[in-house]
């Protein structure tokens, strides 16, 4: 099972000091988080993508390439890549290039984005969000799998005889996740292609997360990729730890109370009940996190959010350290203990996809096409 950090890259004032870090400092902190993650034995670092203040994360592959150059094993991912407003041709090129630079240590997570005006800034309409995600991702799959692409879609200029360069490393496209909080169409999309499904989890109640994952698992099996419990699931989580619960709450509370998204709303205690947020000791975080598998099933990737709401570098890096040294070693052991033998422990990696060979379903644009046509006839 893979564990790691995901960041949204917000620049937010530290409510305890009134100081706001510069963009340079924020980018540097994200880099330090990634390097620390590798140092303490975490597996994944995923960066968000936004094109508006207060975020700095407009150029994920630039940042991930820099991190790749300074790490050996860390898997680089996204949370999320905007499949709606980015040109899929540029995504195909950028992430294939990153595969080559990083020795295949790349996967990515598709998302639609959450800021309305970003769509018109990039010439798109938010009301087309789902259609954009469907069409653009389909084109991306072709660009990574067909040597010459002819394409006529609804949203971008047609392609005739187009070859995406560089081709994916070892002719093997990166593994892809699809992230969605509420849209059943995106769970269906992930299931259709046999891709991973990631639920952000931190901004919703567990009953909802459970229902979304269940839908994805059921449809994954429907399309013939394996049994429902073998589908590739990732979850987000949000934690803040200290040696005692009281101390963790004391330190984290001002950041919680003033946080973007939910600050000035529910209390820390209420929010901890409504969502998977855990503020307490490493033991409490372990117990809560292990409980996630009780409602989504045995899963393959757990990412934690630790660096938002203006938390300063020292606290953030301490959280990464505690996750790596105290929490994740126990989680690895316990999650494997409960996992049935037929349920994969890890999501597909570059190595496993290369090992599966060029005839594996991963190399088809639509691995489930024949099965879907059969089902439609029946």
């Amino acid at each position: 099972m893979q564990f790691g950090i995901f960041s949204v890259g917000d620049v937010t004032e530290d409510p305890t000091t009134g100081r706001t870090v510069s963009e340079a400092e924020r980018i540097e902190l994200m880099t330090k988080i990634a390097l620390k993650s590798e140092e303490v034995g975490l597996d994944v670092f995923a960066t968000g993508e936004h094109h508006n203040p207060p975020f700095v994360v407009s150029s994920p592959t630039t940042h991930l390439a820099y991190i790749a150059a300074k790490t050996e094993k860390l898997l680089l991912s996204t949370s999320t890549t905007l499949i709606t407003t980015n040109d899929p041709v540029k995504i195909a090129e950028d992430y294939a290039f990153l595969q080559h630079l990083s020795g295949g240590r790349v996967d990515l997570m598709m998302g639609r984005g959450n800021t309305g005006p970003v769509y018109p800034w990039f010439g798109k309409d938010i009301r087309d969000g789902i259609k954009l995600a469907v069409e653009n991702y389909h084109l991306l799959r072709k660009l990574w799998r067909e040597p010459q692409v002819n394409w006529q879609g609804q949203f971008r200029t047609p392609l005739q005889g187009y070859t995406s360069t560089p081709a994916p490393l070892d002719g093997t496209p990166p593994f892809v996740w699809h992230g969605s909080i509420r849209s059943s169409e995106i769970a269906e999309q992930a299931a259709y292609y046999g891709d991973g499904f990631f639920h952000n989890h931190i901004f919703w109640n567990k009953e909802h997360t459970e229902a979304m994952v269940k839908l994805y698992r059921r449809r994954f099996e429907h399309y013939g990729h394996g049994a429902a419990d073998q589908a590739i699931v990732g979850l987000g989580g949000q934690v803040f730890m200290a040696s005692s619960e009281a101390e963790a709450k004391r330190v984290f509370r001002p950041y919680f109370d003033n946080a973007p998204v939910y600050g000035h709303g529910p209390s820390l205690e209420d929010f901890s009940e409504m969502t998977p947020l855990t503020v307490g000791t490493p033991e409490q975080v372990i117990e809560r996190t292990l409980g996630f598998a009780d409602y989504v099933g045995d899963y393959q990737r757990q990412l934690f959010l630790v660096d938002h709401a203006g938390l300063p570098e020292s606290l953030v890096l301490e959280q990464v350290e505690m996750l790596g040294t105290e929490v994740v070693p126990v989680l690895r052991k316990e999650f494997e203990r409960r996992r049935p033998a037929h349920v994969p422990s890890d999501p597909p990696t570059h190595a496993s996809l290369v090992a599966a060979g060029p005839d594996a379903p991963h190399h088809l644009v639509e691995p489930a096409r024949a099965r879907a046509e059969e089902l439609a006839k029946a």
Binding site: V134, R182, S184, K214, Y262, G263, G265
Partner: protein, 220 residues
């Protein structure tokens, strides 16, 4: 079949004249339904009791508390709705609006609604038609023609109970005629019926991906 009517009331005090009006309308509506030989259950939703949970829902981008989820489902499942608000600054109260903002946009589609309001003066009476009626029209609810407005002085007049009876009669008729889409010899067009949803569940009848991909696979 027992019909189910939900009465949403946004009074802030206890006792409240808004609740008093809601009680009278609920009673009159029950009487009008039973007079037509049908039975009815009436459930009250006091918005004051969920004020802080509505604020939580709004400030978290829509994370529901269990009670908000239940209310969304209760309203979407109702055969009819009575909505009563005090008038604040020439419109419905903020609490009243916040509740309807927390519903799924299709949570009241096609639902018969009786609108009512209370105020200290009759000069606010156009709130029914200038604020409440457009809100429910936007939500594609079916607002009955008679609205009930009660200024403080109306609680001592005969006119109020006459208006309540007329509005209740209209609501009862609308509630009982729901689903009666068939005209002699023609089957009702079920696909054309308005679709109502509480928005609290992940849809299990997901659109098959082949349909989502149609026209977007780059080849057709």
């Amino acid at each position: 079949m027992t019909r189910n009517i939900v009465v949403v009331t946004a009074g802030l005090t206890v006792p409240s004249s808004t609740r008093l009006l809601a009680d009278q309308i609920a009673e009159a509506t029950s009487a009008q339904v039973t007079a037509r030989g049908e039975s009815v259950d009436v459930e009250f939703v006091e918005l004051r009791e969920v004020a802080s949970e509505l604020a939580t829902f709004m400030t978290t981008g829509g994370i529901p508390t269990p009670r908000i989820t239940r209310l969304r489902e209760q309203v979407a499942a109702a055969d009819g709705l009575v909505a009563v608000t005090p008038v604040f600054n020439a419109a419905y109260s903020g609490l009243f609006k916040m509740f309807f903002d927390a519903l799924d946009p299709d949570g009241l589609t096609g639902t018969p609604v009786l609108i009512a309001a209370t105020a200290g003066t009759a000069r606010h009476s156009l709130v029914l038609d200038h604020a409440m009626r457009p809100l429910f029209a936007y939500l594609r609810a079916v607002v009955v023609p008679t609205g009930v407005f009660a200024a403080t002085e109306d609680f001592g007049s005969h006119g109020l109970s006459d208006r309540i009876t007329r509005a209740a009669s209209e609501l009862a008729a609308a509630v009982l005629s729901q689903g009666d889409y068939g005209v002699g010899g023609f089957a009702p067009d079920l696909a054309a019926r308005p679709r109502r949803t509480s928005g609290t569940q992940v849809e299990s009848d997901v659109t098959p991906f082949g349909d989502l991909l149609r026209g977007h696979s780059g080849t057709d």
